[in-house]
Structure formats: structure tokens, C-alpha cells
Amino acid sequence: MAALQTAQTTETAGINSCIAALQTEFPAELRSRISSATILRGQLRAHRREPRITTTIPELDNLLQGGLPSGAVIELVGRRSCGRLSILLASLCAVTASGKVASLIDLGDQLDPRSAADFGIELDRLLWLRPQKLDDALAAAYILVETGFSLLALDLGLPPLRGRVSAATWVRLRRVAEIHRAVLLVGSPYRVTGCAATTIVSSQRGRGSWAGKTGTPRLLRGLATHLMADKLQGHRPQRTTTVFFTSPDAAFAAPSSTPRLRDTGRESHAI
């Protein structure tokens, strides 16, 4: 990896020197018009200033260079207990909080409305679909992208996935998302979008964080997960970050206090 980066740096330096040498051959008034494609692309990207949807997770937003890009398919890959669904709900919270509608296509039928409400999602603005097959889920995504939803969160649930779709289906979905400037955030236990995703973030198995010590009552404090950008359009891949998700029980408890009563009626025993 280091060798690859060194090679790329060397190549870039070589291009810049060629550009500089070419510029000296031209009159002063024309030198500013000589540039490389990389520089032009960066200028174009900066000029566009595409609005991005924040995930409300600062570490993930930094990893994605500001948030979820519009008109793109972003794939979030991870097995169990990796924070995948929490990231989807956090992104939905950002969109509904701004007054827009969003949709969660829940292939596994695993959404907990209580959790969604705890996240701050405005349930009135959340369209919850529960397809039973993968092709139905993608067909629903196609319909909603054409309708004008700005964020579609597609949660494919736990493995194995029910149904199969071709890579061409994902590519068509991406093109429709590009046309309508929608964001399709796909949470999957393994890679499914093929080349259609412009951004791929993989989540390694998280580690639970527990309050208390061995031999004493324990409380689940949260989950720490390690995210890596396997594919990031226009940027170098392999960037990593760590995110900590707080358990709702611990979120309302002081660091060393006993867990407080939850409104679900569950009562904790403290020694």
C-alpha cells in the first residue's frame, strides 16, 4: 500500500513538472489555461458544491468527505453487531429533521419503531416498506427514487438474502438516482451492488462496551465499530475511522450510576 502511494505521488509530481515545463513554452497570458485533468476535475467538483446529506455521525461524515453525496449509491457492508442499522437510522433522522420525507426499505422487517423514535426520526415523515424479496425491495426503491424521495435507506437484513438480482439492476438504479439526485444508502451483510456503488464503507465486527467489572453487575454501554472506506469516488480508499454507538440505557445514565428505569417497564436490579 505504501509502495502504491509512493508510486502515485511520484507520478503526480512527474505530471506537475510536465505541466510546468509546458507552461514555460507559452506566453504569460496563456499559461493559466494550461492545466491537468486532475486539477480541472477538482475545480469542477468544488464549483458544483453538491449538497451532501449528513449522517449525524461526525466520524463517518469526515470519512465520506462531508456526508452522503447526492445522486449516488452508497453501500454499507457489515455482518452482525457492526452498527449498520444504527447508521441508517441516524441518516434518516437527519433528513426527516429537515422537514423532508425519507424511506426505509426494510427487507428483514427488523425496524424497532421505539428505537427510531429515540433516534429523533419524525415517524410521520418516514415511509416504512417491508418487502419479502430482494427484487421487490429494488423495485420499490426504483419507484421511490422516481417519485422524488431524497434519501432511501435499503436495509437488506441478516444473511442469507432472500432473492437475487443482477448487477445490471443495481446499475440502472444508480442511474435513476443520479437523474433524480437521490441518495440510496444500502446496508448489506456482504457486497451486493457490484460496480454500481460510488462509495463502499465496510464495517468490521464491533466490540461491545460494558460498564462494570468481572463479578459485578454489567450494563451494555454501547458498541464500538471500525469503519473503512473501501471505495470513495475521487479520493484515495482505505481511510478508516472508529465510531462509538451508545446504548439507549447508558445514554440516560450517569457514568457510574445504576441504570435508571426505562419507560418500557423493564426494571434493572442493582446490587
Partner: protein, 527 residues
């Protein structure tokens, strides 16, 4: 007062051609009766040019024109055509009266603001005719100051015909006496007297006519003078819109039925569009062969008039509940409702167009099922797996776009396993502590992350036969129990002990023990 009369000539034929547009331009005749007693009620222009007239028997007609296409009367088509005629008249005025299936009077007083000038009413009539053409129902329009003059004006071929106020007598004078549709004895008497024009009857002294012909003669004389005091009695609109047809032969499969249903839905779409309404409830009534009726009710998540979405819902319904026998006729009944409207804001966020949203919801309901499309709601009660589900009706967009917080609550959510996964809990060491999994019995919580403590292994029972999800591993850390009780007043109260655990493979689960049965279940995965 100004009254418009909308008249649909050859109504039974026009109603039939609405449902079978492919027969337009053909030699078609609509008959009533069966076998040799079937008589022609109305014939199309090519048929009339060949010499076929109303009143002929079908046998006579076929003798003149063997290639004549004969159709029976269809009450469903006629009712649909009558409703369409009502809707056309509502485009002129809300005050309408239906005196016959093919004739409707409409109060058009005060329309000079919309249709000013001398030709204003004529323009209004032409627009009504254009609306009728869009619904595939040719009509004639007559406008006058009373119902009689308007009715006679609408029967004339050059349409629309406008009779100025006070000119009713002059308008009627040159017309044949048959336009007054007099009672048989009166008409024959006048004919014997040589009275052939309405003006001739109007010039006779009223008292002499009354003395010779009685009250019927007096009524006829007043009509000939253009006097008609009959008021316009308003009509109440039907609560549903209906379109349908009787099939030529009973159909068994769904595809031919859907082809005919689509044509009915197209006509309903035009009628709903004309009234700026949408369908909120769709009912499909099937007449079965040899007898019987089936009704299928289809609720819609949002009012829509998208034909493809409605047809997909009907297909879904018929595939899930196929008809018991062959189908001889059908009717599509639509309960109209105002479509969702949204006021876009100047500074607010971009929102989905209400009509597009309603169409999308209908298509999603057709594809996934109506119970799988909606908004989540927190259900009452303490059971974590319970949830509520309502129709998706987002509130209006805020006036100003709200900037979302850059930093959220950073919470961890749980994937609810529906249904809960039954577990097998295996312990492989003697008890070292007073209590631990699997039977906490209300004792203090435990910690199993020490090698001196009991080892506890969880396995999902379904995974033993290869089914998913597969939950397996040693319990590294456990937190609990939390007691949960719900529905203590019911026959099957819920009594559970909940634990948060971490398995050796790193999975974080929420499990519980049912105190009624003693079984263990996993109902959540922290993700």
C-alpha cells in the same frame, strides 16, 4: 332563468359504443328481446344508410344487411353513460335535473360573467359538447328560458341551439307538431284538422282549443305558445362512480377480464379528472355464471386516479381471491375523494408532489401488499417486538427549511427478530454462583466472563436444522435480568426476564426467558 338541456341521441347505442370503441364506424345495431322477437332499438349511421330502422326485428334487419353487428342492451353501460352525462352537466352548473337517461336539464342562469356577449351561451354549449366528446358520449345542447324550449332546441341536429329570452314562440312556430310529443288522441285530432306546425296551433284561440280538446288541448296550446312553468328539480350526485359492462361470453381467466376492466378504468379516470377527484376506495363487483355475485373491495393508501396502479391492485386482488366461476359481467365502483394537495413553500425544503406520492403508494401497495406500506408507530404496551403501522400521510413541509443537527444522538439500535428465535441454553459446569442463566428466578444478576464461572452456550433451535438466523456461541458477558410484565388482565399475560448478552463471536443480543413456559428466545440483535 336560463336552462340548458343536454340530450344524448341514440342513447342505448352511444352507451354501448362507449364500452366498445372498436365498433365505431361499423354497422352496429342495439336490440332488445331474444330470438325472433328481438327488435332494433337504435342503429349506427352505416346501418341506417343501408335501410335499417328502429322497430325492425333483428331477422328483418339481417335480411337487409347480413353483416350487421348486433348487440343487446347493457344496463351497466347505460348507467355509466348516464352518470357521464350528469358529470358533463355539472361542468355547467351544480343545479341539474335528470328527467331521463338520455336527457338532463341544467340551470345556467348568471353564466354571462363567464361567457359574455351575444355568443356567450353558444360558446358554453360548444364547450359542453367538447367535454362530452372527450368522454366518448356525443350530445346535443339546447339553451332557452324554459325546459320545453330547451328540450326541443336540443333535439335539433344543428347543435348548440340558443333561444333568446322571449323568442320561444317564434322559435317553435316553424317546427313540426311532432316536437311537442302530444298525447295520442290530441295529436290525431290536430292532424285531422290539418294542424302540422306548432305555430298553427299557437294561432288558434285558447278558449276554443280548450272547449274542443279539454285540458290536454289547453296544455298543448300553452306549449305551442312557448309557455312552460315547470321548475327545475335539483339532482343529488351519486356517492360512487360506476363503469362496467356485460361480457359477450363468460370469461374464466383473469387476463381477458382485466383487458375489459382497463377500459372501464380509463373511462373512470377521465370522469375523475373532469371533476378534479381521485379514487379512495375501489370496489369490483362480478356477476358470475350461471348466477351469483362477488364483490371485491380494495382500499387505497392514498387517493389516486392512476390507471396502472388501480389495475395492478385489481390483478393482485383477483389472483389472491380468484372468482368462484365464470364471469358474465362486471362493475367497477369508485368512491371519489379529493386528491391530496400540497402548498409548496418558497423557502421550505423540496417536497414530493402529492399526486406522485399517491401514485407511488398505490403502486407499492400493489407490489408489496397494502399491509407492508406505511409509517411506523410506537405501539402501546411493554413488549419490545410490538409495533404500530399507519397509512403514510406526511405533514405539510415547514415554511422554512430546517438545518439538521450535524451531530446526532449516536445511539445504538436493535434489530428486532420477528418472530423471536427460540434458543437452547446449555450449561456445562456446576453452579459456582447462587444464580445465573438459565434460571435466574429473581436472583441477583450474574457475570459470566470469568473462567471460574459457569460456561453457558446458546444455540438457536432452528439452526440445528440449517435454518437461519443462526445464533451460536458461548456467553461472554450477560447483563440482567430485567423483568417485564404485560397484559396481566388477559388470558395469556406476558411475563419475561430480559438479558443483554455478548456471545463469543462478538454478537450482541437481547434475549429473554418466558416465565410461563420456561423457554428462551432471542428477540433482538444490537446493530
Amino acid at each position: 332563468m336560463r336552462i340548458a338541456c343536454l340530450f344524448a341521441p341514440l342513447f342505448v347505442l352511444a352507451a354501448r359504443l362507449r364500452s366498445e370503441p372498436n365498433l365505431r364506424g361499423e354497422a352496429v345495431a342495439v336490440c332488445e328481446g331474444n330470438g325472433t322477437t328481438a327488435r332494433i332499438m337504435a342503429a349506427s349511421r352505416p346501418s341506417r344508410q343501408a335501410g335499417i330502422r328502429a322497430g325492425m326485428t333483428l331477422v328483418q334487419a339481417r335480411g337487409i344487411m347480413p353483416s350487421l353487428i348486433a348487440r343487446g342492451r347493457d344496463s351497466t353501460c347505460e348507467r355509466s353513460a348516464h352518470e357521464a352525462l350528469l358529470e358533463i352537466s355539472w361542468t355547467l352548473s351544480p343545479q341539474v335535473e335528470a328527467t331521463a337517461d338520455d336527457q338532463i336539464f341544467s340551470d345556467v342562469s348568471g353564466m354571462d360573467g363567464l361567457y359574455p356577449g351575444k355568443i356567450g351561451e353558444e360558446t358554453m354549449g360548444r364547450e359542453a359538447i367538447a367535454v362530452a366528446d372527450s368522454l366518448h358520449l356525443p350530445i346535443r345542447v339546447g339553451i332557452a328560458s324554459n325546459k320545453l324550449a330547451a328540450q326541443i332546441a336540443s333535439s335539433l341536429p344543428q347543435s348548440p341551439v340558443v333561444v333568446d329570452a322571449g323568442d320561444e314562440a317564434a322559435f317553435l312556430a316553424p317546427l313540426p307538431l311532432s316536437h311537442l310529443q302530444l298525447e295520442g288522441r290530441t295529436a290525431s285530432t290536430l292532424q285531422r284538422w290539418g294542424i302540422t306546425r306548432i305555430g298553427d296551433l299557437a294561432r288558434l284561440p285558447a278558449d276554443r282549443v280548450s272547449a274542443r280538446l279539454g285540458s290536454d288541448g289547453l296544455v298543448a296550446h300553452r306549449a305551442a305558445c312557448g309557455v312552460d312553468h315547470r321548475p327545475l328539480v335539483p339532482h343529488r350526485p351519486p356517492p360512487v362512480l360506476t363503469e362496467g359492462m356485460e361480457l359477450e361470453w363468460p370469461v374464466v381467466t383473469i387476463e381477458p377480464l382485466l383487458f375489459a376492466v382497463r377500459q372501464s378504468l380509463d373511462r373512470l379516470h377521465r370522469r375523475l379528472t373532469r371533476q378534479e377527484l381521485a379514487c379512495s376506495l375501489l370496489e369490483l363487483e362480478l356477476d358470475l355464471e350461471p348466477e351469483g355475485t362477488e364483490r371485491h373491495t380494495i382500499g387505497l393508501p392514498a387517493p389516486t386516479r392512476d390507471v396502472d396502479a388501480l389495475l395492478a391492485l385489481i390483478r393482485l386482488e383477483l389472483e389472491s381471491r380468484p372468482p368462484q366461476s365464470a364471469i358474465a359481467a362486471f362493475r367497477c365502483m369508485v368512491t371519489p375523494d379529493a386528491p391530496r394537495r400540497g402548498q409548496l413553500t418558497l423557502f421550505g425544503p423540496e417536497d414530493v408532489h402529492p399526486q406522485k406520492l399517491a401514485t407511488a403508494l398505490a403502486r407499492l401497495a400493489a407490489r408489496l401488499g397494502p399491509d407492508r406500506v406505511g409509517s411506523p408507530r410506537v405501539a402501546e404496551g411493554h413488549c419490545p417486538e410490538s409495533y404500530g403501522h399507519v397509512n403514510f400521510e406526511p405533514p405539510p413541509t415547514p415554511r422554512f427549511e430546517r438545518s439538521p443537527e450535524k451531530v446526532g444522538r449516536g445511539l445504538l439500535t436493535v434489530r428486532v427478530l420477528r418472530p423471536p428465535v427460540e434458543l437452547e441454553v446449555i450449561t456445562d459446569a456446576p453452579l459456582e454462583m447462587t444464580t445465573s442463566l438459565p434460571d435466574s428466578g429473581g436472583d441477583p444478576p450474574i457475570s459470566t466472563d470469568s473462567k471460574n464461572h459457569r460456561r453457558i452456550r446458546l444455540t438457536s433451535i432452528a439452526s440445528l436444522t440449517g435454518e437461519k438466523p443462526r445464533i451460536q456461541g458461548l456467553v461472554r458477558i450477560a447483563s440482567g435480568p430485567w423483568q417485564l410484565e404485560d397484559g396481566w388482565w388477559s388470558d395469556r399475560p406476558v411475563q419475561r426476564e430480559y438479558w443483554d448478552i455478548e456471545l463469543s463471536d462478538g454478537g450482541l443480543y437481547r434475549i429473554y426467558r418466558d416465565r410461563n413456559s420456561g423457554s428462551w428466545f432471542a428477540d433482538g440483535l444490537y446493530d
